[in-house]
Amino acid sequence: MSDRPNESFLARLDRIDRRWIFLMMAIAVAGPIIWVGVTGRTFPETATPAVQGAFDAIERLPEGSKVLVSFDFDPASAGELQPMATGFIHHCQLRKHRIYAMTLWAPGSPLIGATLADVIGNDPSYRYGENFVDLGFQAGNEGVMKQVGVDFPKAFPNDSKGTPLARIPMMQGITRLSDFDILISVSAGYPGGKEWVQYGVSPTLTQGHRLPFVAGSTGVQTPQMIPYYPVQMSGILGAIKGAAEYESLVNAKATAPGETVPAKYQEAQRRMAPQLFGHSLMVGLILVGNVIFFAGRRKGAAE
C-alpha cells in the first residue's frame, strides 16, 4: 500500500524503485539469449559502408600478407569485442594471411592465446612461428606505439613464451610498423584505436605510404573513432552491431550455401536479439518517463 494515498499511478511510477527497471532489463536480455540458444536463429545483417570497408581492406590484401592485430581489450569488454577479434582472425585465416598478435593491455594477454587457439586450433596449414605468432603484452601505452614505428624488435624482443624474435621465422624482415601490410586494433578504450591513429598510423605517412588501419571498438568509443574514417582508417566495426555485420560478411565467404556456420563464428549475430529487446525497453522507458513528465506538468499547470 502506498504511503501517499492520494498519489496517482503515474506519480507512483515516477518514484519506482530502480530495481524494477533492473529486473525488466534482465528479462529483456536473458529471454532472447535463451531463445537464441534454443533455436539458433539470428537476424539478417546488412553491412554498412564502414564495416564493408574493414572487410574489403583485409580481403584485397594478397594471400600471405603480414597482419598485425592488437588485442587492446580485457575480459570486461570481451562480451562486445571478442566476436570482433574472432572474426578478424578467422578472416585472416581464410585469406591465409600471417597473423602477428600483440596487446597493450595486461589483461588482454590471455585473450590472445584463447582466440588463436579457438580459431586456428589444430589447423595443419597454420604453424606457430611461420603463420601466426603471439607477441604478448608490452607495457608503455603510446610509448610502445611510437617504438614499434621505428624499431619493432626493440619494443617486442621476445614472443609471449620468451622466444627471441630472431628465432621466429615469420619475424624476419620486420623492423618497424610500416613493414606490416595492415594494422588491426580491437579496442576497448585507452590505449586503443585513437592512439594507434595518432602514434602508429599517422607517422607511417612520412615513411612513404600510410599503413592501412582497421579497428573494432565498443559502442561508447565508436563516435570517437568515426572522425578518422575513411581517411586514417579503412573501416570500423562499431559495437556488437558492427561485429555482427562483419561476421555475416566473413561467414558468407567461409560457408557454402546450406552449410552450418559454427556457433563460435556467430557470437555477435546471436547477441543482436538481446540487443534488440534491450534497445526496445530503453525506448519504452524513455516514452513512459516522458508521459509521466508531461502529465505532471499538466497537473501542475491545472493547479
Binding site: 527497471i21 611510437k146 534497445h279 530503453m282 518517463g289
Partner: protein, 234 residues
C-alpha cells in the same frame, strides 16, 4: 627551494620531450623517458600494494563498516601474489624440465590462469554488464523532453537506438531502398547519417577544443605557471 627545483626540472624535461617530437638526434630520448616512467610506475605498484594492505588491515582491526570486504581483499591480494610469483601449478618449460619456475604462469591449467579465467574474467565482465542496467534507469529518470534541445536529443536517441537493431529495419522496410530520394529515411540509414555527419561534426569540434585545452594546460605546466601537481596552492 625544493618546489622551485622540481618545477625547473619539470620544465626542462617537458621541453626536451617536445623537442624529441621534432629533432631526429633527440628521438631516442622520447622512448627513453617513457621507459623511465614505466620503471617508476612499476615501482609505484609496490607503494600502492603497501598502501592497499595498510588501509585494509586498519579497517579490519578497527572493525569499520565493510571490514569483511577488506578481509577478502587482503586474502585475495596475497593469494594472487603468491600464486603469480611462485607460479603455482604452472608446468615447467619442456626445454627446461628440471627448472621449477621455468613455466609460463599464464599457461592453461595453472593456478594463475584459473584465477584469471574463473575469478577476474567473470567479475569484470559482470561489472561492465552493470552498465546496461544503470543506463536503463538513467534513461527513465533523466531523458525528459524539458526543452527544444532535449526534444531533439530524444528524437535522435530513438532513431539511433532503433536504427542499430533489426526492429528499425522492420519499421521502415516499406521505404524503397533503391530510391535515393527516400532511402535515407530508413532508420538504419538515418542512424548512419546521424553518426557520420552530425555526431562526427560535434565530436571533431570537441576534439579540437580539447586538444587546444590540453596544449594550453601543458604549456602552463612547462613554463611553471601551474604548479598544482607539486602540491603548491599557486
Amino acid at each position: 627551494m625544493g618546489r622551485n627545483a622540481a618545477a625547473v626540472l619539470a620544465s626542462i624535461v617537458g621541453l626536451v620531450m617536445v623537442l624529441t617530437a621534432f629533432a631526429r638526434p633527440l628521438e631516442f630520448l622520447g622512448t627513453a623517458v617513457v621507459d623511465w616512467f614505466n620503471v617508476l610506475a612499476a615501482i609505484a605498484f609496490v607503494l600502492g600494494g603497501a598502501n592497499l594492505l595498510k588501509m585494509n588491515l586498519l579497517k579490519i582491526s578497527a572493525r569499520d563498516a565493510g571490514w569483511g570486504y577488506s578481509a577478502v581483499t587482503v586474502c585475495v591480494f596475497l593469494v594472487t601474489i603468491g600464486v603469480g610469483l611462485l607460479k603455482i601449478g604452472a608446468h615447467p618449460d619442456p626445454l627446461h624440465p628440471d627448472v621449477a619456475l621455468s613455466g609460463d604462469k599464464e599457461a592453461v591449467g595453472g593456478a594463475f590462469w584459473w584465477l584469471y579465467e574463473y575469478a577476474m574474467s567473470p567479475i569484470t565482465s559482470t561489472l561492465f554488464a552493470l552498465l546496461a542496467f544503470y543506463v536503463a534507469s538513467a534513461a527513465f529518470r533523466a531523458f525528459r523532453a524539458k526543452n527544444t534541445a532535449a526534444i531533439l536529443l530524444l528524437g535522435t536517441a530513438f532513431i539511433v537506438l532503433l536504427g542499430r537493431v533489426y526492429v528499425g529495419v522492420l519499421l521502415t522496410s516499406w521505404i524503397p531502398a533503391d530510391n535515393a530520394w527516400v532511402s535515407w529515411l530508413r532508420l538504419e540509414n538515418l542512424s548512419g547519417i546521424i553518426m557520420g555527419v552530425f555526431n562526427n561534426a560535434g565530436t571533431r569540434a570537441m576534439m579540437i577544443g580539447i586538444a587546444i585545452g590540453i596544449a594550453a594546460t601543458s604549456l602552463k605546466i612547462l613554463v611553471g605557471l601551474d604548479r598544482s601537481y607539486l602540491g603548491s596552492s599557486d
